[in-house]
Symmetry: C2
Subunit: 404 residues, 2 copies
């Protein structure tokens, strides 16, 4: 693995004490897949280095996407059109759409199908500057199909360049076979998650996190707590889909179970914000989803920041509610709709996203010792990235010290 | 120029009687830069043809962007951030921003600078499927600088592949030197437009259209009518920036002067809609601009369609209020915010956009005899394009019968 010296950096974004700083007059020395040092021009030795001329451009950490559902099979553009024509969630479900449609399609696919289906998306993410991606299962909803999803993910992690952080999301929805009239059906599925799925996932080391969709009409707070406690006892880190539509106490639950992140949070209460701050739970905001669902109600990001929280930002890439691989369009929406400054938005997909994945020590910043995941941009400064929207502003991606 | 046969088309969008149709089981034969015929598989002779296998993908006309301000120099990302932090139009202007900032930057640039600055944007447009673009002057606001802009445009039209339709927009704003306290200043600038600029533009054949920014605080309806009448008398087609913020009668003026298009129309009145329908003025809607300005007030597209109008859609590409070359993200915003169906949105950037540029006989559709401007997409069907957002879904662009 070559030594690389990146010269003529116009603007360098890197972390210091939990915030991104904008630096000038810096060079970056990479070796062995890591950042060796950040120095002033002339300070670092060029001996034996491949020189990359950044041509006065912006250089940032590789982007980290901390919330996706990349393991799916088949698209759902018909629902996109139905929603435009005014159909609501219930009408789409009645027409056979929604998460359960993706469950049917994924169950019909093989592990090989899932691998093949996912590769172009990961390739596109990398081209758009994303070097680490969290990916959830959750379209299987049976032991067999959840394991199939996570095994496909494991293979994908080994066969291509983007680092994948796997999350088990058996509690994404109740599968059709446990939606019957009997009140015990829900309990049965939760028992399968706790007694069969979590042990199997842990046994095969297929996930780092367990996530639950805690929401009115999906998993109650009590059901979620039961699942998350079992997952924590089994050694998994915790995440929640919380308060996307109604503030039912998912944020407080995230604090109570010591979750690493709570995600969505569109409807979070002030009490929820306080609880998350006290328990140091990272909020992961998904403004692309609000945009894609045609809603105008965005997560109260500024309120969270005022309360001392540091929001991460993610694509929520999935075929139903956010069909994009690009964190760049999400940065634009985060600025325009969450009212984040461009620098805060970049923090959301670097430092704060790394924290949402328990990886602050290795990614999301460009300090010595961190992984050499780097983006050189077709831009003079970081403000131009959310500003120049709907296009790919990446010039060069460096993944683990190698030019992609 | 080779003959090309495009086979295995999954879905073909083409125009019939003013509407886009979705066709299946078709092949396209191109020769001499034009479409020779659209036939069923097996119907068209392959003799002497280069075969392009569309692999069951979507094939559409090359996209037409009927409203851009591509001739500028330098970006304005600082204003993007100021707006997020709550600054309004007046505060941005007071800080030296707005159109007048672009005027200062363009005046300091040479014709060569403008050509060089514009080439990457045109290249990016072509990569995103746009094969014809309307471009306005309007950051010069002096005889010399308006001519410099339009001459740069003429050179650009000859040196790269995207077809450019030039529009003279001397009436984009009043330049600083005619914003003094004297009420006669405005009159003087309008006289310069009418007596110096329009004759020079026509003499050098530098524009097809004349446009005016008719708006509260910019050009009044009376001033606009004077300019547009002079332009029409000089042989130019007419366009208006109308009713972007206030319904002051710009749509009715567009009808009265027989304009080809009226653009923006966020605040259009019912009477304005009726007038445009009666006079057959094409509305050009710019939903990316509303999005980029952080507003939630979009043009009443459905009302226009119900009234029988056929809206075109454009990027409004410019450094202040819509910094994107991609019509694809505009299709997404048009669906989500204007509530256009994906097919109506595609009509907006093909058939209806061609009409907004007086080019319905040569572009915007894939009938025999039309220019062979074609996009083959990484998608099975047209609904996937606005659905798969923030990324470039183009597989292959064919411009004038040649693969780009």
């Amino acid at each position: 693995m070559n030594k690389i010296l990146i010269k003529n950096i116009g603007e360098l974004l890197t972390g210091r004490e939990g915030s991104l700083e904008v630096l000038h007059d810096k060079e970056l020395l990479l070796s062995g897949g890591k950042i060796v040092s950040v120095g002033k021009p002339g300070e670092l030795s060029e001996t034996g280095c491949e020189i990359i001329d950044a041509d006065n451009s912006l250089v940032t950490p590789g982007l980290v996407d901390p919330h996706t559902h990349l393991i799916f099979f088949g698209t759902r553009e018909d629902e996109f059109e139905m929603r435009i024509k005014g159909a609501d969630y219930m009408e789409i479900a009645a027409a056979g759409g929604g998460i359960r449609k993706s469950v049917r399609m994924l169950r019909d696919a093989s592990e090989d199908d899932l691998v093949e289906h996912s590769l172009p998306f990961l390739d596109n993410m990398l081209k758009h500057g994303t070097t680490t991606v969290e990916v959830k299962s959750g379209y299987g909803l049976s032991l067999k199909d959840e394991l199939k999803s996570l095994r496909a993910l494991k293979r994908l992690n080994e066969m291509q360049k983007v680092d994948l952080v796997p999350t088990f999301l058996g509690a994404h929805e109740f599968p059709d076979e446990y939606r019957g009239a009997h009140s015990t059906d829900r309990e049965k599925y939760i028992e399968i998650i706790i007694n069969e799925m979590i042990p199997a996932v842990v046994e095969e080391r297929l996930a780092e996190f367990c996530d639950v969709f805690t929401e009115e009409g999906v998993f109650t707070v009590a059901e979620s707590e039961k699942i998350l406690t079992a997952a924590s006892d089994a050694g998994l880190g915790l995440k929640l889909h919380a308060e996307e539509f109604e503030p039912i106490g998912g944020a407080e639950l995230a604090a109570r179970v010591n979750a690493t992140s709570a995600d969505h949070l569109v409807a979070i209460s002030d009490e929820g914000i306080r609880s998350m701050k006290e328990a140091d739970v990272t909020p992961v905001l998904l403004p692309g989803t609000t945009f894609f669902l045609g809603s105008d109600r965005y997560a109260p990001a500024r309120k969270m920041i005022e309360a001392g929280l540091k929001p991460a930002i993610a694509t929520d890439f999935n075929p139903g509610s956010s069909m994009t691989e690009s964190l760049q369009i999400i940065l634009t929406i985060a600025c325009l709709k969450l009212k984040l400054t461009p620098l805060e938005a970049f923090e959301g997909v670097t430092l704060n996203a790394a924290k949402a994945l328990n990886r602050s020590d290795s990614i999301g910043s460009l300090e010595a010792g961190m992984k050499a995941d780097i983006v050189i941009w077709n831009a003079d400064n970081h403000k131009q990235i959310p500003y120049h929207y709907g296009v790919n502003n990446v010039r060069t991606v460096i993944k683990g010290g190698e030019v992609v």
